[in-house]
Amino acid sequence: MLRLEKRPSPSRFWQAATPILAVILTMIAGGIMFALLGKNPVEAIRTIFWDPLFDPQYAAYSRPQLLVKAGPLILIATGLSLGFRAGIWNIGAEGQYIMGAVFGAGVGLALYPVETRWIFPLMILAGIFGGWLWAMIPAILKTRFRTNEILVSLLLVYVAQYILAAMALGPMRNPEGGGFPGSRNLSQIPSMANPELIAGTGLHWGVVAAIGVVIAAYVLLQRHILGFQIKLAGQAPRAARFAGVSPERLVILCMGISGGLAGAAGLFEVTGPAGQISIDFNTGYGFTAIIVAFLGRLNPLGILLAGLLMALTYIGGELASFILGLPSAAIQAFQGMLLFFLLAVDLLTNFRIRFGSKKEAI
């Protein structure tokens, strides 16, 4: 008989080892899925995880994409991880990401022919504000009316998508675009563009911001009283209340930080890789970032690695659909599977698995 025995404190070894174990298990299960789709599983896994980085033919294009895709994921996931640690579930990052892009691009487009270098920083601020504002709705409803933040933040994603569509077809439509939906191409306007900073690396301002945010979050969690309060509120809510931690303040702060970062990610995306406000410029980074946050064990440095790995599955998935004809939906299922395995093997962190009957227990 298998039996679970609670560990007195979480195992440090398994805390580090579970993400790796989960990735291996996902590769096996994913391989089975690819085999069912009639593809050679070994070839498919190699195309996803190896070829984007090392294949002589494709790596030149794929490698820079790694940072392009990892940047927004890390930026959003780091923000989300703070809330998740405190038991505050902002799962509407996709909506905040869209609103950041809409606000930021809106400021840029409103100033359109003006050419000064202050426009881009202004747009970043507007993007952060847009995401922050969108996250404040569930945050304030939570603190004022105790409304469930999970449902509100998620429902607002759908609202944001309609706002995006209305903007792309209405006020922000390119007047010189011949009636096609979508705004002016921001990445081609020098004062608004978020260009590749070092050619061939994929490094843009969003990636720089992501790295900065990871370091800031690490310092916050290790050295700052707010980081301590976040961890305390998540692990022992009662103790936190006795220690004078205000749950309302934490909700406002955590939701605000994650919303602002998601908004910034949206702005960097729409001025760089995506280029313009269009009906579907958003590609679900806000949702994938939830997986990244868990894969990184809600730890800033872990999220950095997890973001890169998740970016790799995106690029590898594109490559696999190009070379092997693997359906692009397969990679989404693959990412979901990763989260399943991650949650499953997390058991090993908090419990010991014992063989034998119950009698030996106390």
Binding site: L151, V152, Y162, P327, A329, A344
Partner: protein, 309 residues
Amino acid sequence: MLGDINPAVLIASLMVASVPIILAAIGELVVEKAGVLNLGVEGMMIMGAICGFVTAVATGNPYLGFLGGAVGAAALSLVFGFLTQFMLSNQVATGLALTLFGQGLSSLIGQGYNGVKPPLTGTVPLGPLADIPVLGRILFDHDWVVYFSVASIAAVWAVLKYTRVGLILRAVGESHDAAHALGYKVIRIRILAIMFGGAMAGIGGAYVSLIRVPQWTDGITAGAGWIALAIVVFASWKPWRVLLGAYLFGGITVLQLNLQAAGAAIPAHYLSMAPYLITILVLVVMSSGKGRASLNAPAALGQNFHASR
């Protein structure tokens, strides 16, 4: 403009529009009454939508389609059940994973089904009843799932209120330790509840792809699962209020669609937001003030059970 809208047709179509939400919400209500918070309703619905669609197209039988949808979604819910009940994973995170995975898997299965027409589900022939003016159009001119959805509410209400099964289920949801001490199999009961919730969400999803739309496109459920979750809170975990909430929501959906069709001055995109915004508003009203919905929430909601001795 509003005068063009026929109230009888409006009520009849709001009953149709709310069927997926009723089914998913009443399933989730049972799950939550057992003390489990499954946020994967959206993922289970969309799995039900595609499994139902594929089965119906393959067999040519819409009834088998609904069965297929129920089985597909229940199978997916079993993954959630295994992870949360045996691997003791966080229910919020696992529910989200279920939605993300369900969306990916459904669009994977649905490849090649875009533009395919599913077999038609006819209305239940109620003969002369359907010819009664106004009332006939509202009540007696529907497909079987509309009646099934109302019947399922009545059944869940009766079972929870009057039967031993209902009592045990509620006991498990209120205090799993006490239920365990009394000798009830907490994990087994919760797994069964989760599967019931999955099957109901699956039928709701199949209704979207087989009758309401009827065709397959990625992301076809468009947040209905999340709205169903909100309706459970709105209903304060009471079955008949699920019906009320779902009809309210269905009414708003149908009204805004009618306004769009009638060429209202408000652009379509803003009207389409209405159902989501009203749902948020209703959540706020329900969770604040005297009638705080959360007071009625099952006490063990969202907590994992591990028998330590």
